[in-house]
Amino acid sequence: MKTSVARGTVRRTVPRSRRRLRRVRAEWLFLLPAALFLATLAAYPFVELVHMSVSQVTAANIFHDWPFVGASGLQAVAATADFREAAVDTVIYVTLVVGVGLLGGLASAVMLWRGGRIAGFTLALMVFGWALPGLINGTAWRFLLDKRGMVDTVLGLFHVAPVYWLVDNRLPLVSVALVNAWVAVPFATLVYRAALLDLPKDVLASADVDGARPGQVLRYIVLPLLRPCTLVLAVVSLVYAFKSFDFIYIMTFGGPGTASTTLPFLSYRLAFELYKYSDGAAVALVTVLVVLVLAVIYIRQVGREERG
């Protein structure tokens, strides 16, 4: 890290106002390549998505003109039972992934705070699981959650009857969400671990001296300091969970029946299995709007953070 910072020597060769202007303009130029790139390759598909959701598009006319139907398409789709069921399932799914992901991440970070070789190895193992492609993780867990799979076998050692993780009632949705969370936890762990390591040592030390118990320290000192971190993590995880599709696809295909169908999966099925492109686009758009609202909250908070 070599920087030569000439403190205290202010050589005014360029008037400050002009300098600032030049820098501001330049910084917009920094954004330009990324903006152009995204405009062609990301914004265009998104615009198509919006267009599709307010038109009537099927396989028959996808390459021709799309009759405009306005919001009625969105309304029609939102009124179906499938949509409502998927919406509820999505809320459950996202809550589980974000909740378990964050809590698990925090707990893991605290557990592994001890440091040392075993903790280090465990963390490495966890992050490796996160790094593997979803296809592999999903397939592996499909087998692990089978009636004759490892999880039920282990439960059997404790004389617990085998659980049909991917079959019974609400379980399929929960099981897939938990597998998704299993993948999300290591990421949260890393973030929290970094935050914990950054905690001001003197505050912790003085709490020690005052005789505070671990629980109190955690509750009154550590957690509040982790708030900004938690918020960012929450939004990132939220977006990730709302988008999540791979695990459902590979583990249950939205089933049995439609028990584990979330909005993203419903959108996929509508567009690519049933060729009701505009319905699929409408569902996708609803998802985007919901996350957008949540994202606005994030941005406000970040703005507050930066100002404070």
Binding site: I62, K147, V167, D168, F253, G255, G257, A259, E273
Partner: protein, 437 residues
């Protein structure tokens, strides 16, 4: 093929010939080929007469045969290459569920392969998106067209688009050792089925009576169709009563443990592998497992095939199998048709698929061949093709959304998520809402 010609040709002419890439060097053939090679590919003709064997060019074929199945495709492609040695055939693998997506995306850019080998559910959407080219004019000029039953032809607006040369369908496989041990025979009607399963379940040994696909996918509705149609269900006429009877049957099996609930996540491949372990008495699965069975089961246990139990109404069995289609954006339609003709519409081609993957030739003039009649495992399937074969995808692919409804409810019943009556109601309503003629 080499030495004799050189006596009559100068060294320069030999080199010239080699440079042009001519074939044999015999006097008579060499000259003609030389001339033909200079001429390039033959002009397109839609009268059905075959392109010149000396045609050069590239033919792109999309298929979804995975690594262990692709040899069959290569073998029958060789039949085409033998007749058109100068055509470079590019076999491109595209994963099964991705092929329709990729085809439609390609059509957006006005491109695509020359030939599709595709037997899935989504043909209607692909047709509507402009992925296929009509083969009607070629078909009309095809000498053997009468050999193919209607059920293997896919037509849109009365024009022929896709043809299947061989068919795959579902039937009942059984583990003979288990049946003998328990003292039962394969059931012939739906009335006998549940009793047979009950007997196996109560035998005291840890045998699973039946394995079948319960996924909420196209494989699920494929498996459900014989039972549903056996009670009188059809897509144009989704009789709720019929549906309920079929669902009640399956519900009973699942609740009593004859059919494992986990079957809701089993595709046909997994169903087979679980049966091949040796503790499952019956499975509903296809004739394509004949090869895998001999490889994976071998002599571990004795096994056989039988017709699926019949219901009160005739019902049907979907005639699957890979159909061939001409791509809409092909630049060599004559060659594409020639490929179809030489491979899966020809007798040698169908003998290859029969011997390597158990596909039953659809051609009338092949059903009495010893290759077909002498295999006891194949026999029940052949009978079923005659008795109960029905078009797949049903209604030319227009029922795809309705099929999804059936599959989802089938899966929900097996899992115990819905009662048979509730599922029947939902299915009848869903099919009516989603299937439009």
């Amino acid at each position: 093929m080499g030495a004799e010609g050189s006596r009559f040709l100068s060294r320069r002419e030999l080199l010239q010939r080699a440079a042009v890439g001519a074939g044999s060097l015999t006097l008579a053939g060499g000259l003609a080929e030389f001339i033909a090679a200079c001429g390039g590919s033959s002009p397109a003709s839609s009268s059905g007469h075959a392109p010149d064997p000396n045609t050069t060019g590239t033919l792109t074929v999309w298929h979804y045969s995975s690594q262990q199945d692709v040899k069959t495709v290569q073998d029958y492609t060789a039949l085409f290459t033998r007749k058109y040695p100068k055509v470079d055939v590019k076999l491109q693998y595209v994963e099964f569920s991705e092929m329709p997506k990729r085809a439609i995306a390609a059509a957006a850019a006005k491109s695509g392969p020359d030939v599709f080998i595709y037997g899935g559910n989504e043909v209607n959407a692909m047709y509507q998106a402009g992925v296929f080219k009509s083969a009607e004019s070629y078909w009309q000029g095809f000498a053997d067209k009468a050999q193919f039953p209607d059920g293997v032809l896919t037509k849109f607006k009365n024009q022929l688009y896709g043809v299947k040369g061989y068919v795959n369908l579902t039937g009942l496989w059984y583990n003979k050792d288990i049946l003998d041990d328990v003292g039962v025979q394969p059931p012939k009607t739906v009335d006998e089925v549940t009793q047979t399963f009950a007997k196996i379940a109560s035998s005291g040994k840890k045998y699973t009576p039946i394995a079948m696909t319960g996924q909420p996918t196209d494989q699920g509705d494929w498996t459900a169709w014989p039972w549903l149609s056996g009670f009188g269900f059809s897509y144009p006429n989704p009789d709720q009563n019929a549906i309920q009877q079929a669902f009640s049957l399956v519900d009973e099996w699942a609740r009593k443990g004859y059919l494992p609930k986990e079957a809701v996540s089993w595709g046909q491949a997994e169903t087979f592998t679980r049966w091949a372990v040796g503790d499952v008495a019956f499975m509903e699965n296809g004739n394509w497992n004949i090869g895998p069975a001999s490889r994976q089961v071998g002599s571990k246990f004795k096994y056989g095939t039988a017709q699926l139990p019949t219901g009160p109404k005739t019902g049907g069995l979907f005639l699957g199998g890979e159909a061939l289609w001409i791509g809409a954006f092909t630049k060599v339609p004559d060659l594409a048709w020639a490929y179809m003709q030489e491979t899966l519409l020809s007798k040698p081609g169908l003998l290859i698929t029969l011997s390597e993957s158990g596909g039953i030739p659809a051609r009338h003039d092949m059903t009495t061949l010893p290759d077909v009649t002498s295999n006891p495992l194949l026999d029940p399937y052949v009978q079923e093709v005659k008795n109960r074969g029905s078009e797949y995808p049903p209604e030319g692919g227009a029922a795809i959304a309705a099929q999804a409804v059936v599959a989802q409810n089938w899966s929900a019943v097996i899992a115990g998520q819905k009662s048979p009556s509730q599922a029947a109601k939902d299915t009848a309503e869903g099919v009516k809402a989603n299937y439009h003629k």
